[in-house]
């Protein structure tokens, strides 16, 4: 590779994606959009793992990074599954999936 992609630009990309995710988490009231925002944030993190795995100095640490990325992807998928189950239950119970209305966490 003659023209490597700079670390700064990569971090900028993943930072930007995290920002988008956070923005979604803070503003969206629709549960599904909330889930999507979380996914964006997680993907930003995975991207970091993959990038640093690609440029790591030793093969072992690079493989570690990729392995973490695999685990993360698995966890994120699980989270989506549970999240959607909650969406379903919520809509069945309340007829709405507006998270601002689900306040039963309060004592």
């Amino acid at each position: 590779m003659s023209d490597p992609i700079s670390t700064a630009s990569f971090l900028g990309l993943s930072g930007a994606l995290l920002g988008v995710g956070l923005f979604g988490i803070l503003t969206r009231r629709n549960f599904i959009l909330l889930l999507i925002s979380i996914e964006i944030a997680i993907n930003a993190a995975v991207l970091n793992f993959v990038y640093f795995a690609a440029f790591s100095s030793t093969a072992a640490s690079g493989l570690n990074g990729q392995a973490a990325a695999v685990v993360l992807v698995g966890l994120a998928a699980t989270e989506i599954a549970v999240g959607l189950a909650i969406v379903l239950a919520l809509s069945r119970l309340r007829g709405s999936i507006n998270v601002a209305e689900a306040t039963s966490l309060r004592l």
Binding site: I5, V73, T78
Partner: protein, 164 residues
């Protein structure tokens, strides 16, 4: 600028753009389309980084499974698929907070990375990755499997019929 650099810029721009679009559009179904594109763009970046296994995983799990799941979620919770998400507009202070986080993060990262550039992209054989996963990470992988299993049963419990 090398073709890889150009490709990275293009894919990065697509990723940020589609992510934003997914959150800002009014139709929920459009959101799904945008987010699917986002996942694909990320997969492209992974290929670019020669992490082909992860790229395929990204395509299969996210662009495929997660997208379909989200679509199903929308279908069963909405009477009409093309219903408008109650627009919440663009909350300025939320945006500011998010930007602040990004800026601070960038500052921290620049502190850590020191702006140094690497020269070579390592590519790893899938065999090595699987050896790593099932070797030192075997326990964690098992744990992940357990988490997935319990999440699955939890999900089934949550959506089972007759539960009021």
């Amino acid at each position: 600028m090398s073709p890889e650099g150009l490709a990275f810029l293009a894919l990065g721009a697509v990723a940020v753009g589609t992510a934003l679009a997914a959150l800002l559009v009014r139709e929920l179904v459009h959101t799904i389309i945008w987010i699917a594109t986002f996942f694909v763009a990320l997969a492209g970046i992974y290929f670019l980084l020669e992490a082909s296994f992860l790229g395929i995983l990204q395509l299969g799990v996210y662009a495929g499974a997660v997208t379909i799941l989200l679509l199903f979620g929308i279908m069963v919770t909405r009477r009409r698929i093309f219903s408008r998400e109650a627009a919440t507009g663009l909350s300025l202070h939320s945006l500011a907070i998010a930007l602040l986080v990004v800026v601070l993060l960038a500052a921290v990262a620049s502190d850590l990375a020191g702006g140094s550039n690497h020269t070579t992209i390592h590519s790893y054989a899938v065999v090595d990755l699987s050896t790593t996963l099932f070797g030192p990470y075997g326990g964690w992988l098992l744990l992940l499997g357990l988490v997935m299993l319990s999440a699955l049963s939890g999900a089934i419990y949550l959506v089972r019929e007759g539960r009021e």
